[in-house]
Symmetry: none
């Protein structure tokens, strides 16, 4: 085969994978949004089969060989070279797992998800615990097949955020602990900010009506994006021009759905902005979790919690809820949006205490894989750690260990990227504010000015470059956790007049 | 291979097909309901690839051989025997067409569909005519490859309704013509019934709220069924416990969405009630068009247009729309639901004139394939037949010959099943009314009594038995068109006081 023939074969292989991935994405979105529960077993079995077909394509030994050959080709352009490298790692990491084990583990993940859902509804950790245990065992097995020297949990961390490991995360979370624990203490002891008006009764249908304005403000265009409702908001999609997000409306909270929407639209906008030529390839699909989360949190915390954002949007909200918000000023509203108060539910947590929720999950995951933490009694372990770091304790498993879906699907090593993303975002925003008048853009309804800066410096690359390279290109220096901590200290010192 | 090995191989093959079918169903449902338009090109290319994968599985020559061997096995149980027969026919009918011809004909169908769309928009039959001619020629060729002795159009009729042919349809439509043409004439000349109150302004959100009551009344349970909205209502699903329907709300018509919902829920309930053991096999998927349509029309016309149905539901509708319906009695409302009036558009036709729309299409199809009707000037042929049978003449080709999509995709032989379904339904309902107090069930909110009868006598079998066998088992006698005609004569004689 000459190079052209090799590249043709390679492109056909990429296309085949993208077809199965598309099917699996749509099936997953359908499952999470509308698919009737009673059909889950039928669908899950066939979904596992299709995932197995994808697995067969991915692990085609001929392709493993071809990728190795392509890696040595010096005439490849940079994009293809990067994609080939990423595919080669992916193939290696999957080819080592026997197919029947892979299919069995996919089936387990589906059953485990259903068990988690039931456990959460019935508020009973014991329904989920045996599945969690099995999921951990099967994940260990899957990683052991790789034959890597790297400790197992480090491999998981690296999968979600290439280049990260326990050592780096220990340093990262160490810095957070050092500066945030005392800051949270001070905030907790300071004079509290009134936010009771956020928690009146807000008709869900009215919230939905207002959401259309927010989606339009964010330039989340129906031609390429669709929003649905789910218990646990998420973003998925099939290509840059087909992104799906979900949100969740709470009757007694007017900002929860808005902020979750802005968060998910941050994810969706990132994928939408990736160079269209990467559609269907690993350069679009393989963005690190930390980078992804940096953009959703940038949207949510660094843009949608600012006064400028609400100068453009608060009028509309007041008009939608005149009885509840008619006497609340925009400043009062924005201050209320930004209060910090230790709480139980990660997804409802404020910007300051949020990383503590992640710290807890990171320490538990680390323990589950080094053997120092057990799935048995993990609901109590969980509650104890919440008490230790945040001073709060859950009365129910549903608001405790069962609150997150991640572990039911074997996603270990993922949570830490949520905290990392916030810290990435701080550094990106600091630079963006040096180059663009962000507040003026938000105030005047020109959200696209921010999006364009992000697209140009971050989004369009997909994973053409690694996170550390993008960080350097976009901000001119390596990642530095102190920008994040400085930002939080500054913001909360002012807000609480510390 | 011994029999067990053969059966295992067979079952694996059935499962593989069911997995691809499931994916294609979910992708299609997603596309028709929520998928963002800008991603259509990306998705369609990959969907075509997955359809090709299914085609490859279906036409695996090894399986064609295996099916032939299994057909001769005398020890197979009745269900497997029937399924093997149906699969063998399916494989034979596809595998006999050379692949390049198959691809060429699929391309022609696409071009033909686009031409039809353009012709309909521009109201110009001459744009579509050359394609229609080619589609007919290619369909002839495709059927000739089967090498059957049966005349070509008979094969087409048999594909949609096994056991039916021109001789039987001629007798069926002959009887309809004889008794319905004079009945329609009498109804048209009788004093007309007021139905203007159905066409006021009805807020769509309010219609949707009311629909929840109707869906609950019909026992369309969210655990196995989900309803969405689309421009053209449809029913699809992945298994008995996962059925999706859609409806369409019209602002100026309060019953359109309700009746389309009941119709689609009829289809969905049929599939839901098929023996769960048939899930994923041709015994569940291959139900004849006439049988399917018999159940949707039974729900829509024979149940949801009765006084008893509305005795249970009209109160709720009045409460939802007190301004519009407060002064309309239940009897006036039900009478208005049942008016008959010759019109041009099949999908908007009433229960009495509907079969005449089908008769016209049947006579044209028959002529197109025996050479007595030409595609040239077919727009005039169409209009002449509408004038002859219904006394109305279209001023535009769009509301005449171009109104239906079916022929552009080569679906000949399908239309007749629409009329047959209504007639099947009449005979089923007659028997059900002998065994069950249908009106009392409807009146007292026990719709499930009807559903249970249908499930026990019809639905549960899927296509374990052919339509004529089910008809005999359920009603104790062969299909008899006179029950349908008696029903219509009786109903419209009373309604219009003829």
């Amino acid at each position: 085969m000459n190079l052209n023939e090799k590249l043709q074969k390679y492109n056909e292989w990429v296309f085949r994978m993208s077809a199965y991935r598309m099917a699996l994405s749509i099936i997953a979105i359908d499952k999470l949004t509308v698919a009737p529960e009673a059909g889950a077993d039928y669908r899950d079995k066939r979904t596992a089969f299709l995932a197995g077909e994808l697995f067969s394509v991915q692990t085609d030994p001929e392709m493993a060989q071809l990728l190795n050959e392509l890696r040595t080709e010096e005439s490849l352009d940079g994009e293809t070279k990067k994609a080939v490298e990423l595919y080669a790692k992916m193939v290696h990491d999957t080819v080592c797992i026997p197919k029947d084990e892979f299919v069995a583990s996919e089936e387990l993940m589906n059953a485990s998800y259903n068990a988690w859902l039931e456990a959460k509804m019935k508020n009973d950790y014991s329904i989920f615990e045996p599945y969690l245990k099995q999921v951990i065992e099967i994940m260990k097995k899957r990683y052991e097949y790789r034959g890597s020297d790297m400790p197992l949990y480090d491999q998981m961390l690296d999968d979600y955020e290439p280049g990260m490991n326990r050592e780096k995360y220990d340093a990262f979370f160490g810095a957070l602990k050092e500066r945030l624990v005392p800051l949270i203490k001070k905030v907790t002891e300071a004079e509290q900010i009134d936010e009771s008006f956020l928690h009146q009764e807000f008709d869900k249908a009215d919230q939905k009506k207002y959401m259309d304005q927010i989606l339009a403000y964010l330039h989340f265009d129906p031609s390429w994006g669709y929003q649905n409702e789910t218990e646990h908001p998420f973003t998925d999609g099939t290509c840059s021009n087909d992104m799906r997000t979900t949100t969740k409306y709470l009757k007694d909270n007017v900002v929860s759905a808005i902020l979750s929407t802005v968060h998910e639209v941050g994810h969706a906008t990132y994928q939408h902005d990736v160079d269209e030529r990467y559609d269907g390839t690993i350069l679009a699909a393989g963005i690190s979790s930390g980078m992804h989360e940096s953009q959703s949190r940038l949207f949510e915390n660094y843009l949608a919690r600012t006064g400028a954002f609400w100068e453009a949007n608060y009028d509309g909200l007041q008009k939608q809820f005149p009885q509840q918000l008619g006497n609340v000023s925009c400043e009062q509203f924005v201050n209320a949006l930004n209060i910090a108060r230790p709480s139980l539910i990660r997804t409802e947590a404020d910007e300051l205490t949020y990383p503590m929720h992640i710290l807890i999950r990171y320490e538990i995951e680390k323990g589950l894989f080094d053997g120092s933490v057990s799935t048995e009694g993990l609901d109590r372990t969980w509650d104890d750690m919440y008490e230790k770091y945040l001073g709060v304790r859950s009365k129910t498993a549903s608001a405790g260990i069962l609150q997150d879906v991640h572990w039911s699907g074997g996603s270990f090593g993922y949570f830490p990227t949520y905290a990392l993303g916030s810290a990435f975002a701080a550094q990106f925003v600091r630079k963006m504010r040096q180059e663009v008048d962000v507040d003026e853009a938000l105030r005047s309804g020109h959200f696209e000015i921010c999006v364009n800066w992000l697209k140009e410096h971050i989004h369009k690359y997909g994973c053409r470059y690694d996170a550390d390279e993008i960080m350097k290109m976009a901000t001119g220096e390596p990642f530095n956790v102190n920008y994040y901590l400085d930002y939080l200290e500054d913001k909360y010192t002012k807000l609480y007049k510390l």
